[in-house]
Symmetry: C2
Subunit: 400 residues, 2 copies
């Protein structure tokens, strides 16, 4: 038995961890005159086990390539994060730039095992001089999850920050907290996003890797904003064991909850998104086929624009399932919007009453579309959002 | 030796073929007060060999299912076409409705071998009574390619109609002409579109099937507006042999030219599209990998919005190639916009001069992006368009 409690102030609750940010001139002031950081850090008093999941993009960014050169049992006590520059497609120089920054960190601050993580525009060298000025500006003993969560944002419209305290039956407890960014270029396999999860749980490294894999598969790998996969997607899980407390089931549940809630926050904050939808495909021949159809529904422009238009046009849902190439039969297909039957072989043309009810469901900020194929036991749920004018605006104007 | 001449008035030039349309109340008047047809026909004096290519969507529409029940050597002399209703997801009733219409055609007009083709909204039964009124309104001896090409339009903003006269060295000649529709839901494999190609060439049926396959592969299967695949995509090629003239090479070239030009017209008319782009991927490990990357470029929302914003952000091109999962190497990759070098390992950050030149290229209604991977001989070109506010508007509002 265990209890999971939600706490405010994100990363600040986790024992022995510190975080903060500063603005070194990469990011302009906000429209209200306030300024967010653009370079930030997460630090632990003691070395942490670290496990990770990265983008499947073949042009993985320099910080990812750099991290992957570390041995499997590498431990870290410092993550350096910058926004506005992805350090991707920067070749060998991109990796040398990270090494130069780490050299300075070592000389100035005796940090020996750092990790770097970057997000922003592709194809430009890191502005090393500017980033280095952060090292004098950081307060390394600050607990400022709020400013760190804000400093990693790009086109995000709100910060994403979560903390759980897990209380075990034996009276001990541990914390797990995370911050994330990601608004566009979000695609399953994996969302374009950075996510930093820290814990003081006394978790073995093997459990960390196993449980992070499960958590990512059920969260970040099931959401889609625009079907694009970035060069920089990274999820890190760090544990410094300082609580001395651990229970595998409790940790699994808390971690799944954190990654799922962050994934839903990322989706809600999808560029220009006005609503999120769960696409559940069940009764497919097998899981793989259910996944194929569910993912295509999350990614279909015609489905996404119909969602934005709040048009209860089930034809686009059906057509997309048909286009996915999976086994399906229009005589067996049944489609629901939330609990409302919207298509079956006996109800092909929807009347005004159903249309109005469907319209009401679609006006919600979030709802559920279930497609029952009636062929087998394969089931999969993915999560998508609508496509609005603002998506086009944000992405046509980004960078310039 | 042969010559291919372009003729006006599309279908009207082809010997022994007639076409026309009428408005039976499915389609409203245009904003300028004019009225287009919504039911149309293409007729030949004599029975034609007919070959076809259809959608890969598993929920193929009733007219496609109906056609596929005909024997392989089926001959036709009549195509009945309606807009505004796809007759898709209509089950057995959808096929019975076609049979009922064909029964009436037979009784009234002694048409024994008709084909039907439909486009429009999914999930509604055909309005049989209205469509039947067309049979009295049609002038079966009219040559009215213009009105037929307009009657098959849905969200198209202009009609798509082409005719070539092919003059052979022996003094004989034949015609090949086509009309097409398709503006959104255009995806390779196959574009959502209807295309009717007719010819008086004395072409053997085997050649028809072989050459149509090649032509479709190099045209409609290489364009993408939005990555969706419809339930109704159909291409028909009919030949009544009335010219007595034929040459395989000449026919192949004329047919390829017709389908390619129609495909480009469909792309230019892509919903909300303001420009079209050829995505050439070469130097890939093999053709399959080149195709995978090229198609993903045509479909990427981030690429499409960058095109709309005329932002020379090669990072999105590179990231999309990386995301396609094909073998690639950032040290070997070279990207050109038209003749302008935009990325190579020696030119990662683009200066103002290049940025301005790139911007000028992107302002054109159509340009070429070439990605040389430097790994092998695999090459593929697909054709895409940008994604604008109007795409969202058209698709959020369609149907309602």
């Amino acid at each position: 038995m265990f209890q999971i409690l939600s706490l405010k102030n994100g990363l600040d609750n986790v024992k022995g961890f510190y975080s903060g940010s500063t603005n070194v001139g990469l990011r302009k002031a906000n429209s209200d005159g306030s300024t967010d950081g653009d370079v930030s850090f997460i630090r632990s008093e003691s070395l942490c086990d670290v496990v990770s999941r990265f983008t499947t993009n073949r042009f993985a960014a320099a910080p990812i390539k750099h991290f992957l050169k570390y041995p499997a049992n590498f431990q870290t006590d410092f993550i350096l994060i910058n926004a506005k520059n992805a350090n991707a497609m920067t070749g060998a120089k991109g990796i040398e730039d990270i090494e130069e920054l780490f050299g300075t960190l070592n000389c100035k601050l005796q940090i020996t095992n750092p990790i770097m993580s970057s997000t922003g525009v592709i194809g430009y060298r890191l502005p090393l001089e500017k980033i280095t000025t952060a090292f004098d500006a950081f307060d390394f003993n600050s607990k400022n999850s709020n400013s760190t969560a804000r400093a990693i944002m790009t086109t995000d419209s709100f910060k994403k920050e979560i903390c759980f305290k897990v209380e075990l039956a034996n009276g001990s407890s541990f914390h797990i907290a995370a911050i994330a960014k990601g608004a566009g270029m979000i695609n399953p396999a994996m969302a374009t996003m950075l996510c930093f999860i820290i814990t003081d749980a006394d978790i073995p490294r093997d459990d960390m890797d196993e449980l992070l894999g499960i958590a990512v598969e059920n969260s970040f790998n099931r959401i889609s904003v625009d079907g694009d996969t970035s060069t920089n997607d990274s999820v890190f899980l760090l544990s410094n064991k300082q609580s001395g407390s651990y229970d595998k089931d409790a940790f699994r549940e808390a971690l799944n909850k954190i990654t799922f809630e962050l994934a839903m926050m990322i989706l809600r904050d999808g560029e220009g998104a006005t609503k999120t939808v769960a696409f559940e495909v069940k009764g497919a021949k097998n899981t793989e086929e259910a996944k194929k159809a569910s993912m295509l529904l999350s990614n279909s422009l015609l489905v996404k624009t119909a969602l934005f238009g709040e048009d209860p046009n089930w034809g686009r849902i059906a057509s997309t399932i048909g286009a996915s190439g999976i086994e399906c039969d229009e005589e067996k297909l049944v489609i629901h919007y939330d609990d409302l039957l919207i298509y079956s072989k006996d109800q092909r043309e929807i009347n005004k009453d159903i249309e109005e009810k469907a319209h009401k469901i679609m006006k919600q900020p979030s709802f559920h579309i279930t497609c029952e194929l009636g062929l087998g036991n394969g089931a999969f749920t993915s999560y998508g959002c609508d496509l609005s004018y603002d998506y086009v605006k944000i992405n046509a104007e980004y960078r310039t």
